[in-house]
């Protein structure tokens, strides 16, 4: 990513900025998105909520890559799954008293994709979105998402 020409100062219009970066960098960016990690998503993590880390805030709208575990998916093929820091032994989708960890990342795929078995370690690349959003189809509320994403087994 350092190799490609891009606007020197990222603007707050992250989405546009990301789009511009893609246009400028082309395949180079797609090949090498910025890595983020579960350990550094938040700079504060408390009872009253979280604050995204400066790096995550700065990468908003840009192409990123993160490694995590695929939670048990709703369907064998889906455009959507939940990425967790640790493998989940339970399936919050299937068990009404089970709940999601608070630091999940929700992944919206480019296209409907066969899921791998739950608990597999995967590397996901996609465009980073942060802030509260409610999925129109499922009602699932998320704070941090990768969109137009794809994944590979880690």
């Amino acid at each position: 990513m350092q190799l490609c020409a891009k606007p020197a100062i990222p603007t707050r219009r992250g989405l546009l900025n990301g789009a511009a970066a893609i246009a400028l960098c082309g395949p180079a960016l797609a090949a090498e998105p910025a890595g983020i990690a579960f350990d550094s998503l938040y700079k504060s993590f408390g009872v009253l909520g979280f604050q995204f880390s400066d790096r995550v805030t700065a990468l908003r709208g840009q192409s990123v890559r993160i490694t995590g575990y695929m939670a048990p998916p709703l369907k064998p093929e889906s455009h959507f799954f939940v990425l967790t820091r640790e493998p989940l032994a339970i399936c919050p989708f299937c068990q009404s008293d089970a709940d999601w960890p608070v630091d999940i990342v929700v992944v919206f795929m480019k296209e409907i994709t066969p899921m791998v078995s739950a608990g597999r370690k995967v590397v996901v690349a996609g465009r980073l979105e942060i802030g509260s959003a409610t999925d129109a189809e499922t009602g699932f509320v998320s704070q941090i998402r990768l969109t137009d994403a794809s994944f590979t087994l880690a």
Binding site: G46, V47, L48, G49, P76, A89, S96, D97, G139
Partner: protein, 581 residues
């Protein structure tokens, strides 16, 4: 804890298998014991969507509206479903015996209610209800061995919960099933009614929406409606979890956490402490689990509550004389005693200043005890159950010791006052037993070689006790052999899991079946066990075994012999004289 949708599917399947014509169903159900003057929703469901002219309902031979003094409502094809319903929300009755008959054609359904009065004068100023979630007899025995010691067949001390004047054997089944869950089980204590798995403060009718089912009043609501007593709800689970929620909630589905937060706000117990903060935060806040914009932190502050997010803030609120406190100490469950003291795993690094149940109980008592009209305090040690689900008996027993230390505080408070009823009771059991000790010095390479039974079950050599009665070392060479009677495919290491709460099974490749967690299968003694539970189970299950209740103080003498769980509500209501208008 674990209640699958299979339960509901099985219940519905069972009904339809019984025949195409189900009978009329009357709520409250047969043999209900109802506190005089308490509010309940009266509902009769008629199959095949009859008109009101096709049915007759009487109570003691009279029209319901005459008995209740309020009009009933008839809904043909309620919610577009294939049944009709007669409703009266918010009914109440004077003491007496009632026979309710619902006639539809040639079918007549009959239920009987016992509406009970409570004698004046009120005998207890305060009630403290301790719930050891899932606390089975072996939990008590193991807690006594670990925290008091054992020598030549005698214990070197009694648990605070053992040393009480009265005891009873309590049965915990719900109306729908032999084995119940913590929602319905706690609901029996807080409402006096038997309901079904997953339900809180409602009977399980045919309504489509979880919040529409026929409600019954909780003890916190009765108290708030009648007078000036203060109320405390203390747990180390998420505050929205089943047991604490049973104080305020009315829902068919215990996982309605966001609704349950609103119900806490509606009832406004004076002291509310536990984990589970994300459901209080507006969805605009990162870390929220709400699906709306409501900010319940702000709403509770507006209602006069002090907010505490750490032990330090909790103690500061007490020192400052707060009488209304919202204490939220973790986004999930508060860490248990084993992790707070020994292992330092779980979420200790994220939440380094969490109070345990004992510290919470002390703070709650300090805030509530000055109330002139007394208080009702529920204290739950929630993770006794959660750790037994994980087959992690050491953590379960440490939290039993923690509950006992909280009971000791309450007994010290009650002292010679003779105005405080203290009850210690589990909500249901787990199939857990002590079968001997594992001794690493025994010959052989397998876990079962290390097991000493009968004459060879020599006492364990756990490390010395700390000031609060917890052993300071449990990963020793001779340890209690504690087994669970229900398990998925799993591996038993025969030792405490110092690296965090045990995960007995994980999802298999098919995404449905659970298989042993291989992390536990590689140790020197690890014993692979083929599960005895349905394949979708990932943890141990509750058992229908009766549980031991102990009690002391005014009203406690009523606990003797064998009683249904609903009887606990009745004794508390009688001690506080909660009957009447």
């Amino acid at each position: 804890m674990r209640m699958t949708t299979l339960w509901i599917a099985a219940a519905i399947g069972g009904l339809s298998a019984a025949g195409p014509v189900a009978g009329q169903t009357i709520y409250p159900i047969n043999r209900a014991e109802i506190l005089e003057g308490s509010r309940f929703d009266f509902k009769v469901e008629f199959p095949n969507a009859p008109t009101s002219a096709d049915v007759t309902v009487t109570i003691n031979g009279k029209a319901p509206a005459e008995i209740f003094g309020k009009a009933t409502t008839f809904m043909q094809s309620e919610e577009g479903q294939k049944h009709s319903a007669l409703w009266l929300r918010g009914a109440s009755l004077p003491a007496g015996n009632y026979v309710v008959e619902a006639t539809q054609g040639t079918n007549k359904a009959t239920v009987k209610w016992d509406v009970f009065a409570t004698a004046q004068p009120r005998r207890a100023k305060n009630v403290i209800l301790f719930i050891g979630d899932g606390m089975s007899v072996a939990n008590r025995t193991a807690a006594r061995i670990l925290s008091k010691g054992w020598d030549e067949g005698r214990y070197n001390g009694e648990l605070a919960m053992d040393d009480m004047s009265n005891m009873a054997l309590i049965s915990t089944s719900g109306s729908d099933s032999i084995v119940t869950d913590s929602a319905n089980a706690a609901h029996a204590y807080t409402t006096g009614h038997k309901s079904c798995v997953n339900a809180l403060g409602v009977y399980c009718a045919k309504n489509a929406l979880t919040l529409d089912h026929p409600k019954v009043e909780t003890i916190a609501e009765v108290i708030k409606r009648r007078g000036q007593m203060a109320i405390g709800v203390v747990t180390n689970s998420e505050i929205e979890d089943a047991t604490p929620a049973s104080m305020v909630a009315h829902t068919r589905r215990r996982s309605d956490f966001n609704d349950i937060v609103k119900m806490f706000h509606d009832v406004q117990p004076d002291v509310i402490m536990g984990g589970g903060s994300p459901n209080f935060l507006s969805k605009a806040t990162p870390g929220s689990k709400r699906t709306d914009e409501q900010d319940f932190i702000a709403k509770f502050k507006e209602a006069g509550y002090t907010l505490a997010t750490t032990k330090t803030e909790m103690n500061a609120a007490v020192a400052a004389g707060s009488k209304k406190l919202l204490g939220l100490y973790n986004t999930g469950n508060i860490d248990g005693a084993f992790d707070l003291r020994l292992a330092k795993k779980g979420t200790i690094s994220k939440f380094p200043d969490q109070p345990d149940v004992v510290e919470q109980t002390r703070a709650a008592l300090d805030m509530l005890k000055g109330n002139p009209d007394g208080f009702f305090l529920m204290v739950e040690s929630a993770r006794i159950d959660k750790y037994s689900h994980s087959l992690d008996w050491e953590r379960s027993v440490f939290d039993t010791i923690m509950l006992d230390n909280a009971v000791k505080l309450a007994k010290d408070f009650a002292g010679d006052r003779n105005d405080t009823l203290i009850i210690v009771v589990p909500d249901h059991a787990h199939p857990i037993s002590i079968i001997g000790t594992y001794d690493d010095d025994r010959p052989g390479q397998l876990l079962r070689d290390k097991l000493g039974v009968y004459a060879e079950s020599r006492p364990p050599n756990y490390g010395p006790l700390d000031a609060e009665g917890y052993p300071t070392k449990v990963d020793t060479s001779r340890r209690l052999a504690v087994v669970y009677g229900s398990y998925p495919d799993t591996c038993d290491t025969g030792r405490p899991n110092m690296s965090g709460e045990r995960v007995p099974a994980v999802k298999g490749p098919d995404g449905k079946t659970n298989i042993a967690n291989e992390k536990d299968c590689t140790g020197p003694l690890a014993a692979r066990k083929t599960g005895n539970l349905p394949f979708d189970a990932n943890s141990g299950v509750h058992s229908a075994d009766d549980v031991i209740l102990t009690a002391m103080g005014p009203g406690a003498e009523k606990f003797r012999g064998h009683k249904p769980n609903t009887y606990v509500f009745r004794v508390m209501a009688e001690a506080l004289a909660l009957g009447g208008k």
